[in-house]
Amino acid sequence: MNAFLHTLTDNWDIFSRGFVNTIKLFVVSGILALILGTLLGAARVSPVPALRGIGTGYVSIIRNTPLTLVFAFLVFAAPKVGLEADFQTSAYIALTVYTAAFVCETLRSGINTVPVGQAEAARAIGMTFTQVLTMIVLPQAFRTVVPPMISVLNAMLKNTTVAAGFSVVEAGAIQQYLSERSENQMYGLVWVTIGFLILVGPMIVAQRWLERKWKVAR
């Protein structure tokens, strides 16, 4: 038990550096993915057929590509066409581009769960587009979108570990550093797992709670 604790305390520098960067990757890419995903989602539900097509095309390409491939392309292939970026920036871009597709899908399916009759009734009583959107559709869609959106972000948090395979120092890379210091890797991995459980746990609890709280609404 003592040796197990010492794995953490003796290497606190690596653990803190790793997890701080994991959180950084999560926050920056998360915000960017929400922005890009919302734009794509808006394109997918827009009345303009070409925009819908672009959204659909993006989602079906990215959703069928492994995240590791997106990373590999940015790190190894992009510099060959003169798009040089450091590993950290590549990780931000890869996570954003990949997660945006899932954000877009979640938004679209959320909006689609609002019955058409709701909006038709609103238009029939003379509400404008903005009124329909902000007073009728979005409040209802919000309830169905938020819980799965937390899942999407949760998946992204776990996906940040892929960056470890591409020279980014984050929680997934802690094990490599421990092995260089010839520390017990099993203990190290258990500590990394505990770290992730601490980060992921509250998100899962929040998601379950919101799901239950808002379920009665329809």
């Binding site: 492994p66 590999a72 776990k158 890797q185 099993m186």
Partner: protein, 275 residues
């Protein structure tokens, strides 16, 4: 849905003015995308990505065989992982329906745990963990075990919600004719849940197939690993871009096919239910 004028939640069926505006916006959007693609292609051309030297190696049989081996390794890991994940998922779902708290609680814990750990860390556990104790698990099995545990946990959740969606009469009728809980699960609930949930299960298998690419990080010689090898050949002027484009096409092709199958199944299911 596509093509025909439809009333959506967000907007009414477009009239003549809206149609004209949509057409203009369509043209602008297409122009923007074409311009972006043209810029990428120009960039590729400018940096010599289309030079024949960079693509030459794909003509050699040895290279083609190497690519085929990578594909085979990817499919092998995905297929083994899929079979084991389905078995493990079914097993966990069964445990969680035993009605015995002492069994259900640990099973639930296992499901939650494997879903919360990043898959790569799970794979590391089986690849690097045993090294501490002088043991060695081949990278193929480390990858497959990781895929099995994570996807098995997700599939058990899918099966459970499938079973929950069945009419209660199914369980009641089963118990009424004297089946025990095991028989009820295997003969009545599971077959129906699998049928209802087949599209979700296949979507999860697409995720599993994509996640085999994590094998690259523990040097399992799958497609992505082969692509890196091909890309790093100096004698072909470091053809990273061609190699990754080829491999991306293979991944997108395989996954799209599976996704399309899942979609087809769910549409067919919806039609059947409607009848």
């Amino acid at each position: 849905m596509e093509g025909r004028p439809v009333s959506s939640v967000l907007y009414d069926v477009p009239g003549p003015r809206a149609r004209r505006r949509n057409l203009i916006l369509s043209v602008l959007a297409v122009a923007a995308v074409v311009a972006a693609i043209a810029w990428v292609v120009y960039r590729f051309w400018q940096t010599g990505q289309f030079e024949s030297l960079k693509w030459q190696q794909f003509q050699y049989t040895a290279i083609q065989e190497q690519l085929a081996d990578g594909l085979l390794n990817t499919v092998k890991a995905a297929a083994t992982g899929a079979v084991l994940a389905l078995l493990f998922g079914g097993f966990l779902a069964g445990l969680r329906m035993t009605g015995i708290r002492a069994i259900e609680a640990p099973a639930t814990f296992v499901v939650e745990l494997f879903r919360a750990i990043p898959l790569l860390i799970l794979i590391f556990f089986f690849y690097y963990g045993p090294l501490t104790y002088g043991l060695h698990i081949p990278n193929f099995w480390a990858l497959v075990i990781g895929l099995t545990l994570y996807n098995g946990a997700v599939i058990s959740e899918i099966l459970r919600s499938g079973i929950a969606s069945l009419p209660r009469g199914q369980s009641e009728a089963g118990l009424a004719i004297g089946l025990d809980r095991g028989q009820l699960f295997w003969h009545i609930l599971l077959p129906q849940a699998v049928r209802a949930m087949l599209p979700s299960i296949i979507s999860q298998l697409v995720v599993l197939l994509k996640d085999t690419a994590l094998g690259f990080i523990i040097t399992y010689p799958e497609l992505l690993y082969v692509a890196k090898q091909m890309g790093s050949r100096l004698s072909f002027d470091l053809p990273y871009v061609p190699s990754y484009l080829v491999v991306a096409a293979v991944y997108i092709g395989m996954c799209s096919l599976l996704s399309w199958f899942a979609n087809w199944l769910s549409k067919r299911g919806a039609r059947r239910r409607a009848r």
